[in-house]
Symmetry: C2
């Protein structure tokens, strides 16, 4: 039996993709590209090629338990770890680490978001395997840094150093999303890489890091360390998880630890965090750079650079005289908005709730 | 018993309102303004105040027989006159005239489109009554000319003369839709009026006019003159109606006859022939001149002069950064198109049929 495990984080609400993504149906559950598999399912499919299915975990919010079971019937109930409240990545990762440690204290874990796009899956899996091998032998917290192809302002960056550990390099700093000028400097420097949010570590390394950098979280989980992977886990989590602080693993641990290593990767990666990134990665584009998501029937006239997303694949979009807009038709909401103003969508959703209640969330 | 009759023409397909209006559900059947009554039903409601329901006829295409029965259950089957093929207004009016003549050779008839908007119904009905009184005593073909409120290029115009018949004036010419410069001259002249498409005449006057100006139509119907208003009418029409030429009453008779009179009216009238005219007449507009048709839930940002028409009243429209567009979401089609380019919509519909077949017509 392998010591390799996978944790897929699937609790996000993805409000930036409203109205496609809803509180009741976040983006990781959506089949954005019309492939027949959601982003979550694609992520699962990738990992199941190198990790035994029984070693794959999902952490998600209780709200999405039913959706998870529907989308991933391959998983046993015990492989779906439910968060009773919405926290950030650090509590989510701690929960999974404690659970897996109770099963296998030698576990090597790869942690992955559920809503990212991987183009070259073979290359991706080779890199994951390299990371798993590294952390089997080394007390290292590993992240995958994507070779940047443009001065993207929508991603965080990782700065690597000259200190090597095999193919891996020691990480100097993590940075937040830069403005364009800084992104350009990063891009041209050759030592900055996109922070993919993909992490690898041995379970003992990450638990040690929690105890060192986020002791309030580890102290809380230590209260129930005999209960993980038992019938008492659920009620323990229900009671104690809500006390965890809302903090990201990047901020809470990765930026502070001095055993963080990076593998430079180039497997075609995108964080589908924005409509703009979807436009970048969309596979169905016409000659006028209109990108079609799910939409299979469309007529466009004097229109360029739009994202046209109709949830109903039988529906026809007829678009004339429109440039660089998002047109998203999903359920009981039709959204039309300039691509450059997509950051306002969260506010639109909030306004809708204020005016009409929660029915459009 | 009264000699007054009404003929509502309800056979149009209204393709300019696609996708709201479909071949299977033309605009006259739509409740455009969310009043709970379609344009057809509103037309019926108006006339039923001054004309006995049993004297009200609908002429429509066979395709819409079922819709007619649903929308106007007040009518007996014999009051729905079915055209087996799509012709223009002249054959439609001839059919109704022959049918009514067989019932009552002294009938006075008002003929009306089914898709026009009347604002001041009392004023409208007073004018109709004036017309019915005139044609009872005079061999006159009467039309209602609407006092123009702007140099509209979307309507035909009627030029009146100084020759009077009571309140009515003899018509000098009918003109097609003018360009803007000509429309401005018409508007300022004081002697041009919008052609409302509302006509009044005694049944003998109109039958005489058909015999004089459209003898091929009258000769065709004369073949079955004993069959109208009998059980044989239906099969006679099925056989002979398709031979009628495709010609409008304006072109075929009104422009040629020398007994055409006009009443100048001002009851708030609109031919809902275009999205633009709907925008003009829409009752629900916000401060930015966005007009909402059926749409009851909407958020608009940096957007002015749009027509927002969502068929589903529970659906939310969120529109940002858009000026002077038509946004029409109906059934399996979403249309977004510049208001100034609405004349292209027929072509869009034709393109959709070419590319995908008839499912979107």
């Amino acid at each position: 039996m392998t010591d390799n495990y996978c944790v897929i984080m699937g609790g996000g609400i993805g409000s930036r993709f409203w109205p496609f993504s809803r509180e009741t149906f976040p983006k990781q559950f959506l089949d954005f590209f019309g492939t027949g598999r959601s982003l979550l399912q694609l992520t699962f499919d990738h990992f199941s090629k190198i990790i035994p299915v029984e070693n794959i975990y999902i952490v998600t919010n209780e709200l999405y338990a039913e959706l998870m079971r529907e989308q991933l019937p391959e998983l046993h109930e015990s492989q779906i770890l439910l968060e009773p409240t919405r926290r950030n990545t650090a509590p989510c990762i701690a929960y999974a680490a404690y659970h897996i440690y109770a099963r296998n204290p030698k576990a090597n874990i790869v942690v992955a978001p559920s809503d990212h796009l991987i183009i070259n899956v073979d290359s991706f899996l080779r890199d994951v395997n390299k990371g798993l091998e590294l952390v089997r032998e080394n007390d290292a917290l590993v992240t995958l840094g994507v070779h940047p192809s443009r001065p993207e302002t929508g991603y965080g960056y990782i700065q690597s150093s000259d200190t090597k550990l095999g193919e891996f390099t020691k990480v100097k700093t993590f940075t937040e999303k830069p403005d364009y000028d800084l992104a350009k400097i990063f891009y041209e420097s050759g030592e900055f890489f996109w922070n993919s949010g993909l992490f690898l570590w041995n379970v003992q390394s990450i638990l040690a890091a929690f105890r060192k950098f986020l002791p309030d979280i580890s102290a809380r989980f230590d209260l129930g360390k005999d209960k993980f992977n038992t019938s008492e886990e659920r009620s323990f989590i229900k009671e104690h998880f809500p006390y965890c602080p809302n903090i990201s693993i990047d901020y809470g641990i990765m930026e502070k630890a001095d055993n963080v290593y990076m593998l430079c990767v180039d497997f075609g990666w995108a964080d589908l965090g924005t409509w703009g990134s979807l436009h970048e990665t969309a596979t169905v584009k016409d000659e006028e750079k209109n990108a079609f998501l799910k939409t299979s029937k469309a007529l466009t006239y004097e229109s360029t650079g739009n994202i046209i997303a109709l949830e109903n694949p039988e529906k026809l979009a007829v678009i004339q005289g429109l440039n660089d807009y998002i047109i998203a038709d999903s359920g009981n909401v039709l959204l039309i908005c300039k691509k450059e103003d997509e950051s306002k969508i969260k506010q639109f959703m909030a306004d809708a709730q204020m005016k009409y209640g929660k029915e459009f969330n």
